[in-house]
């Protein structure tokens, strides 16, 4: 078996809120192969964003370990690029400067001119040519996320961590952004593809983009099931959603997600 790029084993995370301790994640284990696109889905409160914070290096796990390329994870790292739901970009920098600033942190060896050249190139790739001199506040939410993706890609990190990057975008633009991300990621030859961990609560988004989907259950967050997505790449949303296989696969994921809710409704506590 080839070694995984990211290996998460027996990870537990505790949260303290108003003096009470919560077990946000409990005994979570899974691996992410090199060049693999893995989505983590689950109902709100299942700890999926917490899991990503641990991978980002912003949050410390109480137990268990995360290794990247075989070495234990310690804080933030240059091999990981991150796209958040909000405020990935600095509001006081123009779009171009934001990207160039990211490149500067990841790739010290480049000159200022090279950084701005790469920034412009990636602005073009995400369809933002001509918007380089705008400030984030002058862009729509969708455009801001495009720029954030451009920055993460321009930093040329091996790993891309995306924390519900399209959740705050309206439905129409979300679809456009998903397809943009899909085409950019699939655009690299399979051996050069980035390793992606993508957190979302949108099942269709997860199916369209991922090789593998990790379904989490809440309270505490544990892995319910890890499902491999059986559809060939490159994928085309319009064709994919018409097939029976897609419907079946989607139903299976739904039942995995709602099995959790159903269990809890049968139990004592219901959180929606």
């Amino acid at each position: 078996m080839t070694a995984n790029k990211i290996e998460i084993s027996h990870l537990s995370v505790n949260y303290t809120e108003r003096g009470r301790q919560f077990n946000a994640l409990h005994d979570v284990s899974f691996g992410v192969g090199t060049g693999e696109f893995v989505s983590v889905i689950g109902a709100s409160g299942c700890g999926k964003s917490t899991l990503l914070s641990v991978l980002e290096g912003l949050y410390q796990a109480a137990e268990g370990s995360v290794t990247i390329n075989g070495t234990p994870l310690h804080g933030t790292g240059r091999e990981r690029g991150v796209v958040f739901q909000h405020y990935s970009l600095f509001p006081w920098m123009t779009t171009r400067s934001n990207i160039a600033f990211g490149i500067k942190q990841a790739r010290h060896e480049l000159s200022r001119r090279e950084r701005y050249q790469i920034a412009d190139e990636f602005l073009g790739k995400v369809g933002l040519e001509g918007f380089g001199k705008k400030y984030p506040s002058q862009l729509s939410g969708g455009m801001q996320q495009r720029a954030a993706i451009a920055r993460a890609l321009a930093m040329n990190t091996d790993i891309l961590l995306m924390d519900e990057p399209f959740s705050a975008i309206d439905a129409k633009n979300r679809v456009i952004l998903q397809e943009l991300l899909l085409s950019l990621w699939e655009g690299d030859s399979p051996e050069h593809r980035k390793t992606v961990v993508f957190v979302t609560h949108d099942i269709d988004e997860a199916i369209l983009l991922s090789d593998k989907i990790v379904v989490l259950t809440a309270h505490p967050g544990t892995v319910n099931e890890i499902v491999r997505v059986p559809f060939d790449r490159p994928r085309n949303r319009a064709e994919l959603i018409k097939t029976d296989e897609y419907g079946k696969f989607r139903n299976r994921l739904l039942s995995l997600l709602y099995q959790d809710v159903a269990n809890r409704i049968g139990g004592e506590e219901v959180v929606i």
Binding site: E56, L58, F84, Y87, F90, P91, W92, Q105, P136, M155
Partner: protein
């Protein structure tokens, strides 16, 4: 904008009225310097016309014309109340022309005084900001020290800086150095408090975003925390600036040998109210000019914020 839009304005009518009023016979027996008033009004009208052609935005043209219109209206009323109908005590209420003539006559003296006042303000203000911003950044970033420093700065900023004057006089050799010291204190605390609160309230998501980029510590402070706190820093600076002018002019009225506050106080002691009013108007204009320039700087540095 059409030419009609630019030129057919009430302001120009008010200008004409002001000139026509000057044709009325003078009731006042004093020297009223109508020539100086007319020179000022014509100069202002020419500048306004030039401005009308240069301004691109409709709103700023209207604003300019409204302000100038007000000035013409005030001058008309002022001139009617003094020169034309002699309704007011001529000693306390000099004719408008007299004030303009006085300004022309005293201009060198006035410029020296402005330079003295501005020199002190700029020195105290810049020095205070240069110390307060880095210190506030550092203490605000170290949350534990920041908590204590917030209370300390609240205590010191609650002391009206004017009460430092007697102590400053005991402490420092010259009036100038005392003034710089007092303005330093008046600016330091609001800027320091503004910087600290700015740093402590930077959105955690912005800090996380910088952390995952692996921004090194010094760059974190100056490329991320500083610009993120800039709006609050400017709030402190604005407060410091307006307090500085109040303080400086008050201090100059107490113990200075030059400065705008001194000019006003000195001549009012002699009952020379023409010069007193001239001084008041000049102080107003200087404060507005400085505030305007500072606001332009602020607009430029905060143009990312909408």
């Amino acid at each position: 904008m059409t030419l009609k839009n630019r030129l057919l304005r009430v302001t120009h009518l008010l200008f004409a009225i002001l000139l026509l009023v000057q044709l009325l016979p003078d009731r006042s027996s004093n020297d009223v310097h109508t020539g100086a008033l007319i020179a000022f009004a014509v100069g202002l009208e020419i500048l306004t016309l030039a401005g009308s052609f240069l301004t691109k935005k409709k709103e700023s043209l209207s604003l300019l014309l409204d302000i100038v219109g007000f000035i013409f209206a005030i001058l008309t009323v002022w001139s009617l109340a003094t020169t034309k109908f002699d309704l007011l005590n001529p000693l306390l209420f000099p004719a408008p022309g007299k004030v303009f003539a006085q300004f022309a006559e005293d201009r060198e003296k006035i410029f020296i005084n402005i330079r003295s006042s501005l020199g002190i303000t700029v020195k105290g203000f810049v020095l205070a900001s240069a110390v307060a911003v880095p210190l506030g950044l550092f203490l605000g970033w170290n949350a534990r020290l920041g908590g204590a420093a917030t209370y300390i700065s609240k205590f010191f900023s609650s002391i009206p800086p004017i009460v430092y004057i007697p102590y400053g006089i005991a402490l420092l050799p010259t009036f100038r150095s005392v003034s710089v010291f007092v303005i330093f204190l008046a600016t330091f605390w609001p800027v320091f408090a503004g910087t600290m609160s700015g740093v402590m309230h930077v959105d955690q998501r912005i800090i996380d975003s910088a952390k995952v980029l692996n921004v090194p510590k010094p760059e974190m402070l100056f490329s991320v925390i500083l610009p993120a706190s800039l709006p609050q820093i400017f709030l402190g600076c604005n407060q410091g600036l307006s307090v500085s002018f109040i303080l400086l002019t008050s201090a100059e009225m107490i113990g200075a040998r030059d400065g705008m506050g001194y000019y006003v106080k000195y001549y009012s002691d002699f009952g020379d109210y023409t010069r007193t009013i001239t001084g008041l108007l000049v102080i107003g204009i200087v404060v507005i000019a400085v505030t305007f320039l500072f606001n332009q700087l602020q607009k430029r540095l905060l143009k990312w914020k909408h």
